[in-house]
Symmetry: C2
Amino acid sequence: MIERMEIQPITREVVAERLRAHGIAPTHQRIEVAYVLLERCEHLSADRILALVNARHAEVSKATVYNALRLFREKGLIRELIVDPAKVFYDPNTEPHHHFYDVVTGELTDISGDSVRVEGLPPLPPGTVAEGIDVIVRTRPRS
Amino acid sequence: MIERMEIQPITREVVAERLRAHGIAPTHQRIEVAYVLLERCEHLSADRILALVNARHAEVSKATVYNALRLFREKGLIRELIVDPAKVFYDPNTEPHHHFYDVVTGELTDISGDSVRVEGLPPLPPGTVAEGIDVIVRTRPRS
DNA sequence: ACCGTCATTAGACAAAGTCCAGGCCCTCCT
DNA sequence: AGGAGGGCCTGGACTTTGTCTAATGACGGT
């Protein structure tokens, strides 16, 4: 099953199935939004997704793209990356992992979560529970 | 010298001296902006700073606050925190350290950098150099 | 066919931050 | 003192990202 997923090409049917698996009704618009994220497995901003979805001809409105992305995040299908002060990026990879972020080019690169360990963290503030840890290694092009 | 700094109260003269030490011409407006950040040693957003500076009576314009904050960051006097999708926070503490971020209340808490270690990081992307590492532990209030 | 519910839409709106053109102030030079 | 130049500051217009709203559309169940 897992082996089949890795070689399974991303079709709209597959996307619809993943939406259902996350408790999301697979409407045409949601499938298109999820498709552009899952097809090219990249970090995309909302306005880039909006442009990609409507590249051939207008298909999905701005409000729907934002609604879909928020829903996907709430349902755990995608992850939000807060690294750029101007815009949010969405990451279709929900495995625990971290990121390089080039502060000049804006480029985002994954860091596998397998090998990275964060040690020596103090106890959480009282009355709170952890949601996750983000490690962002800021880089810049060599002079 | 270091001992004296710790007990030194934050006056406008002290602030001016720190600006000069970072190569920043200490104008009246810049001193006011830096003062509110250094006085209360908190994480503040730009619009909060704008409001605090002009609390008694209008003193500094919006453009100047943003200009000053950008300059301070470039000169290494303060640090930018990208944790909230809506706004940037500024941190007067430039020692290496990390943060708890409550995703519900928006509260930011420091994690001392002394004890925290991040291990197992892969090599940097080719042609880049590291600028720093941010560790953000996202939390939420216990149910 | 009807109804209720949810999804989608265009466009208005809000908030954070940037840009610009003009004016101010300070210093330096003569 | 007068003038020139260079920063710096300013109000306001502008841009961009994202949200809200009110109306319409799609769809399943009875």
